[in-house]
């Protein structure tokens, strides 16, 4: 039943809380270990880095450097509903504009004024790859200036074509070579080619495991609540080149396989609709969003994150790596790549509808989204809805508007299903 039937809602008995799966416990341990190890390394005088989320982490990992990821920490702060003082500080005393990315606002406030006792250890250097957006360039440049620390940057350029041109491969490759040299010089670490290859192999394995876990949701009914996969993303952002990630993702895959074998799912109610979610989660309202979707039996089975780390390159092939880091991220692409990836995923996951998060923080994601809505719907024949939100600034979202739009989408999906069933 697609509508909100109050009688059924009231009659439903409260379900006991599900124990945390082992993979989630392992993930939490990994997150805590990264924070703790980074803190200890800093105490010992090691140089600590902050990085953007899709930087070629194989390089700092091979050097044994401790790296933390402000975007990931910003998401956590927002999800715990603790973003307000950071946002106020960024827009108040620090005089940043309300319109900049909310991850940047949180992190700039953290770095410049509010880092006492936080999980991010203050950095000695910065790593930036603008393969997610160009906003990170300015954000990290500001950090570099105010903290007076060096910034190592890989400029990947926007993907105006549907492929990466040879000249761009050369351009990025030369930056990778330079970055290795510069980081060695700055940190005093020695480059170890064997270790680099090892990290590349681990990263490739982790990429495969991540994609596999996501693709298992193409099964019907999906063996997992898609929103839960958002939680596991942090292992791909923060620890993509580590063996501990292989363990977590292997465990996660085993758990999903087990659900498939038993015909069970972590999705708590009967799955009536399968949707594709485009864009970052609306972290401050994740619980609300999930509850709203659950009310109608909507499971998010596909998202833009399935292939966000599909960094395909052969071991020790730096040209391939240059190409992969330029092309792979979900945002930095021209219209035709943007549309094709989403349309393919909507078909692969057999989605009944699409929810587009029109994310006020992330301009690069939004700039072509409206036109993409229309064209993707034309290609797939699947209905969609867009809602205004913000991944981390809780002030840019309206619960009532979200609820109306989702209910409307459900009513359209229901009418279409009925029309199909009646021939």
């Amino acid at each position: 039943m697609s509508e909100n039937n109050k009688a059924t809602e009231q009659a439903a008995p409260a379900k006991p809380k599900r124990p945390k799966p082992k993979s989630m416990i392992m993930l939490n341990e990994q997150t805590a270990a990264l924070a703790e190890n980074t803190r200890k390394a800093k105490e010992k005088g090691e140089k600590i880095g902050w990085s953007t989320s899709i930087f070629p982490q194989e390089i700092p990992e091979a050097l044994g450097l401790y790296i933390q990821y402000p975007e990931n920490v910003g998401a956590g702060i927002a999800a715990r509903k603790q973003a307000d003082p950071y946002l106020q500080t960024a827009e108040g005393p620090l005089e940043y504009n309300n319109d900049i990315c909310s991850y940047a606002k949180i992190n700039l406030a953290y770095a410049e004024a509010m880092n006492e006792g936080g999980t991010l250890v203050m950095p000695d250097f910065l790593l930036v790859a603008n393969n997610i957006c160009n906003q990170v360039t300015k954000w990290f440049e500001n950090l570099s200036k105010t903290l007076n620390i060096p910034l190592f940057m890989i400029d990947t350029c926007y993907n105006s074509e549907d492929y990466v041109t040879e000249s761009r491969v050369k351009y990025i490759r030369s930056q990778l070579d330079q970055c290795i040299k510069d980081l060695c010089e700055f940190t005093g670490k020695e480059w170890d080619e064997k270790r680099f290859i090892e990290v590349m192999d681990i990263s490739a394995k982790n990429k495969e495991l991540w994609i596999r876990a996501n693709e298992l949701l193409a099964n019907e009914p999906a063996p997992m609540n898609g929103f839960e996969l958002f939680n596991y993303m942090s292992t791909m952002v923060c620890n993509r080149g580590k063996a501990s990630t292989t363990e977590i993702l292997t465990q996660l895959n085993n758990e999903i396989d087990e659900h498939l074998k038993n015909g069970t799912s972590t999705y708590p109610v009967e799955q009536q609709y399968r949707i594709f979610w485009d864009g970052i989660a609306c972290w401050p309202y994740l619980g609300h969003n999930l509850r709203t979707l659950k009310q109608y039996g909507i499971n998010m089975v596909g998202s833009g994150y399935v292939k966000a780390w599909a960094l395909d390159y052969e071991s020790n092939d730096l040209d391939g790596m240059a190409k992969a880091y330029s092309y792979c991220p979900a945002n930095n692409n021209n219209m035709s790549t943007f549309i094709k990836r989403r349309a393919d995923a909507i078909k692969q996951f057999n989605c009944d509808g699409v929810i587009f998060h029109i994310n006020r923080a992330c301009k690069v994601m939004d700039c072509q989204q409206l036109e993409a809505h229309r064209r993707i719907s034309e290609i797939t024949g699947v209905p969609y809805v867009g809602f205004d939100g913000d991944q981390a600034d809780y002030r840019n979202f309206s619960e009532a508007q979200f609820e109306t739009r989702i209910q409307g989408l459900v009513e359209v999906m229901k009418a279409r299903k009925e029309a199909q069933n009646n021939g």
Partner: protein, 262 residues
């Protein structure tokens, strides 16, 4: 069998009692929306007008912004589906429905049975909504219900280019202070709303017949501006304001029939 539909909007509450999903027995419109006594008043008024009591109602469905707060309704539905059903009842040939609500403007594409096939809604911004019109009417010191007839007297509509309600408000004030004709300003305001909504209609596809739903449809100036923007004629039923509530009452009737009680 009587069914009741109530549309609890952000600025008004409309209720309808129907018999057998076919005849409108009574209707009420109260200019107070969700969170006020408006919904209760609309409910009491419609029962009184229908000369029935709550016990005589076989089923009720709530819709609109405050739909989740209505405890006597067995179910709530989005205003999208209810406007689609309601307009289909009033104008069976309609395939595109434009509704400018207090908080949300929307364009619906509906099927031959009145089912909702597709829709587009405004973004979070108030531009192109009923609230925008209310703010502008206040600046002009004109009653909202008089805006339509006023704008029909326009000779040279002014251009209101800001989408932001606050900026558009200061634009209107500056037009007033430069002694522009108030009818021309009212027409300019309607055109600005029509432009926003027409964009949505283009996205959904303006399949004929195009009809307008909701209270704003009673504003002839908006209808005219929309007709010009969309280059098509727009059908307006005298009961357009009740379309959401009618759709809700019909949904209640359909549920009863499905359960075999009707």
């Amino acid at each position: 069998m009587y069914t009741l539909g109530i549309d609890i909007g952000s600025t008004s509450s409309d209720a309808v009692v129907m018999r057998d999903g076919r005849d409108i027995i009574a209707a009420s419109v109260v200019s107070l929306g969700a969170g006020t006594i408006g919904p209760q008043l609309a409910y009491e008024k419609v029962l009184k007008e229908a000369k029935i009591t709550a016990e005589d109602i076989g089923g009720a469905v709530a819709t609109g912004y405050g739909r989740k707060t209505c405890d006597y309704a067995a179910k709530d539905l989005s205003e999208l589906t209810c406007h689609a059903k309601g307009i289909h009842f009033l104008i069976p040939t309609a395939r595109t429905v434009i509704d400018i609500g207090g908080q949300d403007a929307k364009v619906l594409q509906i099927g031959a049975q009145g089912q909702l096939m597709n829709f587009a809604m405004n973004d979070k911004c108030a531009a192109g909504t009923g609230r925008f019109l209310e703010v502008m009417a206040k600046v002009l010191n004109v009653k909202i219900e008089d805006m339509g007839s006023l704008s029909m007297k326009a000779k040279e509509p002014v251009s209101i280019s800001n989408t932001c309600t606050v900026f558009a408000e200061s634009e209107v004030i500056s037009q007033l202070s430069s002694k522009k004709d108030i009818a021309d300003i009212a027409a300019g305001i309607h055109r600005s709303v029509a432009k926003r909504v027409a964009g949505m209609a283009m996205r959904v596809g303006k399949q004929p017949d195009v009809a307008m739903s909701g209270g704003v449809a009673l504003n002839a100036g908006i209808v005219k501006a929309l007709e010009e923007e969309l280059n098509t004629s727009i059908l307006v039923h005298p009961y357009c304001q009740l379309a959401g509530a009618i759709g809700a009452a019909m949904a209640a009737w359909e549920d009863i029939r499905e359960e075999g009680k009707g």
